[in-house]
Each structure stands twice: as C-alpha cells, then as structure tokens.
Amino acid sequence: MEMRKIELLVGVFISVAIAALIFLALQVANQSNALRGETYTLYAKFDNIGGLKVRSPVKVGGVVVGRVASIELDSEYFEPVVEMRISNKYAKFPETSTASILTSGLLGEQYIGLEPGFMDDDIFVLADGDSIFNTNSAMVLENLIGQFLFSQGDD
C-alpha cells in the first residue's frame, strides 16, 4: 500500500485514540473542581468518625466544597482529628459553623456536612489552619441499638 494512505490511516488511528481520551476525561471522569486549584485547610475533632475515609467529600447543603485530606488520632486526648481541604471559592465560613459526619442514603458513603453558623460582629471567620469546634460525630449502629434497648427497659 502506498505510504500516503498508510499515513492517513495512522493519523485516523491516533485521532480516534485522542477522541477516546477526551471522551473519558470530559464525560466519564470526576470533574468537580473542589480539589483542583487553591484550597485552604480546616481541622475538626470528632468523638467517632465512623466510616469516614480520606478523600471523602465535605458538603455544604449537598454541594461538594472540599475533601478530607487526612484522619489522625490526637496523641493527647485520643480523639480523631480530621483535616479538610476546602476550595478557596468557598471561604469565610463563620467560626460558629458545625461539622457533622453524615451518611448519604441508607447504605451510602459517609461525608462531612458543614453547616454555616450565624455571623455577628465579634464572630471570627474561619481561615487557613483553624479548627471547627462544633462537631457531631458519626452515628454508630450498635450504640443506637444499645440506647434503644436501654430505653425499652424503663417501661
């Protein structure tokens, strides 16, 4: 076969592969920009993190604003400390905000739900490296059942 036709077909081959890559990048892959670009770091202490994992989403009203960057145990009080990277697009949460560990759906993944608090003159805005003090821990099914059985005993 003449060289010109071969070159044409190889060109088509490469273009189809690039089209496949673009399809995968745009249509299939995760394109929420919450972690791309500039982020700032917030910390939160919980009693129990349940099934929270690194890279779990941080949501405000269902919108992903960031992700969990690391989970470590505080060496003094033995409490889990969660480091969150929040997109700079969503800055200026007041320090009265609440972080809760929630579950999406009945069997879904766990995520951190951030509830913005009220704003007042003597309330600070959370900046890079600050901690959220109001936290609600994950619900553990065994504890719930235990409480239920305990309250049943009173009747």
């Binding site: 060289m3 071969i6 070159e7 077909l9 190889v10 088509v12 081959f13 490469i14 189809v16 592969a17 089209a19 496949a20 890559l21 399809f23 995968l24 990048a25 249509q27 299939v28 892959a29 995760n30 394109q31 929420s32």
Partner: protein, 257 residues
C-alpha cells in the same frame, strides 16, 4: 539426582533466555537516534500493529461493555441500585478489562503476527542479508516494531474503555431504562482521572512492553524451520497471556490494594 539436574538446567535456560532477550532489546533501542530514517518505518509498523488491530478492539470493547451493562443491571436492580450501573461499568473497564483484554487481544492479533513475520525473515535469511549490507537488523526491524507496539497498546486500551462505556450506556440506558442523568453523574462522581484512568494507561504501557518484547524475542530466536516458527508463535501467545494476567494481579495489588 536427575531431579536437581533438571531444576538447574531449567533455571539456567530461563535466565539465559531473559538475559538474551534483554540484550536484544537493549541493542535495538539504545544508540544514536536516526529520526529521518526511523520515522517512515515507525509509521508503517503503527499501521500494521495499531490500525489493523483497531477493528477487533473496537468490536470486542463494544460487546464487553454491553454484556457488563446487562449483567450488572440484572444484579443491581434487585437492590434498587441500578444507578450504580455507570460506575460499575466504567470502573471495571478502566481499571481491569480495558488494559487486560486489550493486551490479550493484542497478543493474539499483533504479537503472533510479529513473531511469525520476524521468524520467517530469519528462516528466509533476510536478517542475514541485512547484516551483509551492514544494516543492523535489530535497529532496522526490531526497534520500529517495538515502538509501534509501545505506542499503540495504550491508545487501543483507551478506545476499548471508551467504546465499552458507550456499550454499557446503550444497554443500560437506551434498552433497560436506567435514568440517563443518573448513569453519567454517578459515574462522574466515582471515576477519578488520576486514580482510575491514568493507572489504566500505566497498566497498558507495562503490558505493551511485555507483550511486544516477548513477541519480538520469540520471533528473533525462532528455529528457522516451519515447526520452529509455529512453536514460536504459540509460545508468544501463551507466554504473553500468562505474563499479562500475572502482572495485572501485581499491578492491581500495588495500585488499588
């Protein structure tokens, strides 16, 4: 006594083969680059190795994606979780089936052809004639074929995954009635560029090196007879399939373990 002699002989033979194959690849690839001379050869081999494998890759990708959609739907619908069909099809294609099935098909379609071609070149003394004309057959024959395999396999794997996902979409959404928006959005929420797509590409680069290398070495060292070439072709397909499946386990354990 004979038992240990056999073990020793087999080990030495295996090591000798690996060493000879490494020397062959090294001599073929290392040296002064000659882009003007090599580029037309590379294009021709890309045509033989890549373009001619495209049809089988696209058709099998489409059908594997459609089967994944069908099987996944019948299981997921029992749990009312048919929205999870998208991530299931996409992740299994991108992480495993895309690179692995492409490599297996590539070994059967292109690897065996490479072995037979080079083996026949040796049997008909074309390689010796090249040497007589002071042309290094490793640089002229082996190197362009290696680079062509190395370049085309990841591209073929990407096509396989893309058309497989489209096949899953055809069956899941168009035929079985999974919600269109949920299919794509749940998929986008769980597929990640770096972790899933790029690791699949890295996998298929590794498979490309292994499969092309085995095919070229088996062809280059084939006994110059009809049974020799036939045995070399068989060995190419068997060894590269085993190597791909074994390496896939190791790579999966390292990447996603």
């Amino acid at each position: 006594m004979n038992f240990f002699i056999n073990i020793g002989r087999n080990t030495l033979n295996t090591l000798r083969g690996v060493g000879a194959a490494s020397i062959m690849l090294f001599q073929a690839l290392v040296g002064k680059p000659q882009p003007r001379k090599m580029f037309p050869l590379l294009i021709r081999q890309l045509y033989v190795v890549g373009v001619q494998s495209m049809l089988i890759i696209l058709i099998s990708g489409l059908f594997i994606g459609m089967v994944l959609g069908l099987q996944g739907y019948t299981i997921l619908v029992d749990f009312g979780a048919e929205q999870a069909l998208g991530p299931m099809v996409a992740l299994s294609l991108l992480r495993e089936l895309g690179p692995v099935v492409t490599a297996l098909l590539f070994a059967g379609r292109a690897g065996s052809a490479l072995t037979a071609e080079i083996g026949l070149m040796r049997a008909t003394e074309q390689l010796s004639s090249l040497e007589m004309m002071a042309v290094d057959p490793l640089r002229r024959v082996v190197a362009p074929r290696f680079w062509a395999g190395f370049i085309s396999m990841p591209l073929l794997a990407l096509m396989f995954s893309a058309i497989g996902i489209y096949g899953g979409f055809l069956v899941g959404v168009q035929w079985l009635g999974v919600d269109d928006g949920a299919f794509w959005s749940v998929m986008q929420a769980s597929v990640e560029w770096q972790n899933d797509i790029m690791n699949g590409v890295i996998k298929s680069l590794v498979f490309a090196i292994v499969v092309t290398w085995i095919a070229l070495y088996k062809g280059y060292t084939a006994a110059p007879t009809s049974p020799g070439i036939s045995a070399a072709t068989t060995q190419t397909v068997v060894y590269s399939s085993l190597a791909v499946l074994g390496l896939d386990f190791i790579l999966t354990a390292v990447m996603f373990g």
